[in-house]
């Protein structure tokens, strides 16, 4: 069974059609890249899958369940973790608290009388994730004081902390210098096969390194699909990137 099926999804904003009869099917553990020029609907697609927006037409099936009209927090609980393009972390909390907030969701968090210091399982997970993203030593720093690259890693940490089955990554390397980029790419590489990943990217370099299977969006429609190396040679794709579509 496909883990995710986006079926004929259309999203209109008044007169503007951001997504036009988009169909995507993902296998569990697959890494799928979404590319396309600006305004092609990539972020709208992520917004629709994660529940931030409801499609005008079409359905989204996740693990066999129709999640089309569900609110974001329900979809998140079902196992879809969304990372944001503009860093959307908890700026006034420490790195540790950021990750903890995400990890806590799988445990009993709504009990006002539970003692946060006694939640050893969460503590363990937080430390695992901090190690995974390489920020163990920065744990007590307030995130607004961290570098941009570190904040991107924290964004990752939050998504991983949720322990989702599918990750939606929206331009995770944008704005990072080449040195800052590599840890992020390595992180994603380590997750291939373990988690299902949809990655929206502009950087061809990143996608080449990841060896992704790629879907190309243009004006809300799927223009081409295939392994990255093939898609990049496709004439239509080259035209929209170079010729201005």
């Amino acid at each position: 069974m496909k883990i995710l099926e986006v079926i004929n999804v259309t999203k209109k904003f008044g007169g503007l059609t951001a997504l036009d009869r988009v169909n995507i099917k993902l296998d569990r553990g697959e890494l799928r890249g979404i590319i396309g020029p600006n305004g092609s609907g990539k972020t709208t697609l992520i917004n629709v899958i994660s529940g931030y927006l409801t499609p005008t037409e079409g359905k989204i099936i996740f693990k066999g369940e129709d999640i089309t009209a569900l609110p974001p927090h329900v979809i998140a609980r079902k196992g879809i973790g969304r990372a944001f393009q503009l860093t959307n972390i908890f700026k006034s909390l420490t790195v540790y608290e950021n990750i903890w907030t995400a990890c806590q969701i799988k445990f009993k968090y709504a009990n006002p009388f539970a003692d946060i210091k006694k939640m050893k399982e969460v503590e363990q997970r937080v430390e695992e994730i901090l190690k995974f993203i390489g920020l163990s030593r920065e744990a007590d720093r307030i995130t607004s004081e961290c570098t941009f690259g570190e904040q991107r890693l924290i964004e990752f940490g939050i998504v991983l902390g949720m322990d989702p089955e599918m990750l939606l990554l929206d331009e995770p390397t944008t704005g990072l210098s080449p040195q800052e980029r590599q840890p992020v790419i390595n992180l994603i590489k380590n997750l291939i096969g373990v988690k299902t990943i949809i990655i929206v990217e502009h950087s061809m370099d990143v996608l080449a390194q990841l060896g992704a299977y790629v879907t190309v969006l243009h004006r809300g429609q799927i223009l081409a699909e295939g392994p990255f190396s093939d898609v990049v040679k496709d004439e239509k794709v080259q035209r929209i990137y170079l010729g201005g579509g």
């Binding site: 927090h73 998140a76 909390l93 969701i105 445990f107 009993k108 539970a114």
Partner: protein
């Protein structure tokens, strides 16, 4: 728990037990008054400091707590029942008001609570036969019956212990919430609600829980107030009650554990003094609000502490 915390707690409890015997009657009276309002300050901090919800209608919860007790005692019920009714009224109203208001956030939320509180006040003034209008309801202060003991609540010592015990219970609830995973989620929601939703938190439900907890504690404050002073009045429904909450939490340090208690303890005697000698004291309060919001975003305490204490003491406290 750390040793410093335990020592501090023991000292506080000792003081609370001995106070009526070591303090003058006036001081006992004043401290009873302050300690009672500290409960409200803690309640308000849960809502505004921890949950980030600027509410103008906390006076309604306080006031309903008071009226619940007043009506019950006037109807002949015993004080325990009266407390139950008062606190329940406050809690239920906070559930209803919270449910509606939390359809909105931030500015609209604040405006909505302002509208609700003003209308509640207007309505209560209309029904003078049950609310006593501007003068409120007075009733004879009952006696608390505990097994074989009959304690007159009009006695300063009994009042003191009633308030102290209520304070300790409220503080315990408040403290547990602060140190719970729920408390952390509230902090996270206050910082970035959208992100919390995408992690999977039903933020509206969680904010409502915090709001109701806040209403519950406000109800305790209002009910005890009414019980020991024999007085309930609709003027507490006004936005001004919440303004005090805002002031105390801000001055003490918004969102900190002890901040509201410190703020309340400092400002209550100050405003009482002001109102006694200076008729237009609301001008001062208004100015104080403006100054505090802008000059002391971390509260006066947050501003003074780094400047007054040495580094070592700071580290001890932070642990």
């Amino acid at each position: 728990m750390q040793t410093t915390h335990v020592i501090g707690a023991i000292l506080v409890v000792l003081f609370l037990i001995l106070a009526p015997y070591i303090l003058t009657p006036y001081l006992t009276y004043l401290l009873t008054w302050i300690l009672l309002w500290c409960i409200f300050a803690m309640a308000y901090n849960l809502c505004f400091g921890l949950g980030g919800m600027l509410s103008f209608c906390h006076g309604v919860f306080f006031g309903l707590g008071g009226f619940g007790v007043a009506w019950s005692i006037s109807a002949g019920l015993n004080p325990w029942f009266a407390l139950l009714i008062g606190i329940s009224l406050a809690t239920i109203s906070s559930l209803l008001i919270g449910f509606i208001s939390l359809k909105t956030r931030k500015t609209q939320f604040a405006i909505l609570t302002l509208i609700i509180t003003t209308i509640a006040y207007d309505v209560s003034l209309r029904f003078t036969n049950i609310t006593g209008g501007v003068d409120g309801i007075t009733f004879s202060i009952p006696k608390l019956v505990l097994g074989n003991l009959v304690l007159p609540l009009s006695s300063p010592a009994v009042r003191w212990y009633t308030v102290s015990i209520s304070f300790l219970i409220s503080f315990y609830i408040y403290y547990r919430i602060f140190n719970s995973p729920f408390g952390l989620v509230l902090k996270a929601i206050k910082t970035n609600e959208e992100r919390c939703r995408f992690i999977g938190y039903d933020t509206t439900r969680l904010l409502l829980m915090a709001f109701v907890a806040s209403g519950f504690l406000s109800g305790i404050c209002g009910s005890i107030f009414s019980l020991i002073y024999g007085f309930a009045c609709a003027t507490y429904f006004e936005a001004s009650t919440s303004i005090y909450g805002i002031l105390w939490t801000y001055v003490g340090g918004l969102g900190t554990l002890l901040g509201p208690i410190v703020g309340c303890s400092l400002l209550v005697p100050l405003t009482d003094y002001l109102s006694a000698y200076f008729r237009r004291y609301w001008i001062v309060i208004g100015a104080l609000l403006i100054v505090c919001i802008y000059k002391f975003p971390k509260g006066i305490i947050g501003y003074l502490i780094p400047r007054l204490l040495t580094r070592k003491t700071l580290e001890v406290i932070r642990k």
